[in-house]
Amino acid sequence: MLRQIFIVSALNFKSLKGRFWQSMVIVIGLAATVGVMLSMLSMSAGMRDAYVKAGDPNRAIVVSKGADQEGQSSITRAQAPLIADAPGIAKDRNGKPLADRGIQMGLPVLRKDGSKGFTTMRGLSDNVQGVRPELHIVQGRMFQAGKRELITGVGAQAMFQHMQIGDKVILPDGQWPIVGVFASGNLMEGQLMGDTETLAAALHRTAYNTVLVRLASPDSLDTFKKALTTNPALSVTVKRHSDWYKRVGNQNTFTLALLGYIVGAVMAIGALFGCLNTMYAAVSTRAREIATLRALGYGALPVAISVMLEAVLLSVTGALIGAGIAWAAYDGKQDLFNNSVFHLSVSPAQFELGISWAIAVAVLGGLFPSIRAARRPVVEALRAT
């Protein structure tokens, strides 16, 4: 049986050369479908990556109960010390808990192309390096507590105007200079940071948005969570930082991803009709060859399988071409969407997605032609011209 499939398929692929342009319909159809879909998904995938990398399983984020995004959360000045004193938090050398009282707000910026956009500006309290060790200064210096100054991420510097050291950022009651540039390898790179208390004063904020803590160990989340949720003075939600960003990333990239999948699905339907067309033509071209094989005693199933294999081979080839083009054109390119700066991504996972769509199209498009090939009466096929 396997031998039969092998022989029939080998014969089949040998004759592909003669049907080259016809077969290219499937290849091009899937290349266009997968190329377009992965190009679009490179945005949502890259953006989601930046979010996922911003999270850390060794950190926990505390937000007010029910808050979906950091901006919706409010932690009062009275609540913050209760959170920082809870068990389960890592301590610095002086025995101080590694807890960062943060605020965040939208900051209008001028994009490099001259259009107006916005990014996120964060207030970080002391212990920045302890809580966020991934954040390091690459140029200039760190902002100082109590001073009206900011640092900018390398992503923000790449995508927005007026983000050089010495440039001024407009804030209420005066403009703040940029004193340093930082890298962090994640979403934060597209943002600006300053001192929480100084920013809060300038913006008339009476409460923090979140408290971010470094856990003593990844397992201490439960201890920490239990201490906070059982404290009647607090009404907060505690989430592992990595889980938080995974969810927020999915939420913020939902529309983009949905668009990519919708366009991909519509194109896949078009490609499917093309695939059906080509495979019907292929089995009718090969009618005599198939009939001869059947007359020689080859089974119907190997014939059907060989037709399916051909459809899959052509589709996957197309998908790889499309994915390759999307990869070459977009992977790693820096881009932005709303307030997020990130690198576009066409990853192996995206390739896999493209290939699985191609296989689905091939199976659907090859099924009926392969049945027809296997079912066609031998005598009739041999008589046909």
């Binding site: 319909v25 266009a32 804030l171 009651d173 403009q175 194109m267 339907i269 078009g270 059906l276 019907y280």
Partner: protein, 387 residues
């Protein structure tokens, strides 16, 4: 050319499955084409309708809004003709999933938004009845409201003095939609929220919109506003309507480039398909074409037949596809999650023209190679079947 139609029809119907599958594939590609180019048509329409002299400004750090006094200060800036202050009520109807938005306007709104499809009676109705709103057809349809109904929006951001979050309005009138705002809008009287809010929030507005004296100077006026407030307690972010509605700016993505790319990829896909279909069809009937030539059909006649055979599924598929796109465009608000953020495609005459042109281009390109082959064919060889 039409006299060949029966011949061409017969040719297509010789392999009905192929004809139908080709047609379906072309149709799907043109559905996508219609939606994509239709989206561009919406952007163009928005940009075209955008007024060069209208300017929007709002606080750069706008959580609590900006004192209405800022509007009065803006009135004194040289080049400013009329100023209106707006208060926003963002919220939802019944369920947080159903996000909604009400704009509360002051007495000068009609001076700045006089070109919108709001008749003077509607502006006056809102002025007279402080608890009333006017909504456009798109919004009335979305919330299933008619004149006289009550409309309640729950807002966590804009609270009442008594701490309640529900704002209830009476629907006074239903207005026509404007292309700049295809999802529609709801507006009421700013006085109402101002008086109903806690003392600390009173006198604050969300956005200030204005007209410049001279459309050509509006960019400069916008810059003046930004500069005037840059070092104040409420720095402002100012943008001209022309720039805001330049259309292809969706969170920083160049939607025009993306939609063109998608439409082009779809066309490329069907081009290959139709080119193959017609090439195969001609190959199969090579002997027949030789016979036609023998009995006196000219090269031109044969060319016409091939073009017609290639064009028929393209034109038909394009028509069906754009038709489906037009139907889908209308259903998008129901199919997509609320606040999807992308305007609805418009199947304008321009879109239909582009679709027709693309369909012809695909048909002609597909027919080129088979036609060349038929012109160069050696009739004797072809008739003998040795091809």
């Amino acid at each position: 050319m039409m006299r060949f139609l029966p011949l061409v029809w017969a040719a297509l119907m010789r392999k009905p499955a192929r004809a139908i599958l080709t047609l379906l594939s072309v149709m799907v590609a043109f559905t996508l084409f219609g939606l994509m180019i239709g989206l561009n048509a919406t952007f163009d329409l928005m940009a075209e309708k955008a007024r060069a002299d209208r300017i929007y400004t709002w606080p750069r750090f706008g959580g609590d809004g900006v004192p209405v006094a800022v509007a009065r200060q803006i009135e004194t800036i040289p080049g400013v003709k009329a100023v209106t202050a707006l208060g926003f009520i963002p919220g939802y109807v019944q369920d947080p999933k159903n996000q909604a938005f009400v704009v509360m306007v002051d007495q000068n709104a009609d001076k700045v938004f006089g070109d919108w499809q709001i008749i003077p009676e509607m502006w006056n109705a809102v002025r007279k009845d402080r608890t009333g709103v006017v909504m456009t057809k798109a919004q009335a349809q979305r919330w299933n409201k008619k004149v006289g109904d009550t409309f309640t929006i729950i807002s966590k951001q804009v609270k009442r003095a008594d701490g309640k979050t529900a704002w209830t309005f009476k629907v006074l009138a239903i207005a026509e939609d404007v292309p700049q705002n295809s999802n529609g809008f709801v507006f009421g009287n700013y006085d109402y929220i101002d008086k109903a809010r806690p003392l600390a929030d009173q006198g604050k507005v969300s956005e200030i919109d204005l007209l410049a004296d001279d459309p050509a100077a509006s960019t400069e006026v916008a810059r003046r506003i930004d500069r005037k407030f840059a070092s104040s307690a409420t720095p402002m972010q100012t943008i001209t309507e022309k720039l805001a509605r330049s259309g292809n700016d969706f969170g920083g993505l160049d939607l025009k480039k993306i939609t063109h790319g998608i439409a082009l990829a779809g066309m490329f896909m069907v081009l290959f398909l139709t080119a193959n279909g017609i090439a195969q069809s001609v190959r199969e009937r090579f002997t027949e074409f030789a016979t036609l030539k023998t009995i006196g059909f000219s090269d031109r006649a044969v060319t016409a037949m091939v073009v017609l055979e290639s064009a028929l599924p393209c034109i038909l598929g394009a028509g069906l596809g754009v038709g489906i796109a037009a139907v889908l465009a209308r259903q998008i608000p129901k199919l997509m999650p609320p606040n999807f953020g992308i305007p609805l495609p418009t199947i304008s005459p321009m879109v239909i023209l582009w679709a027709a042109a693309s369909a012809f281009a695909v048909a002609l390109l597909s027919a080129v190679l088979p036609i060349l082959r038929l012109r160069q064919m050696d009739i004797a060889t072809a008739l003998s079947g040795r091809t």
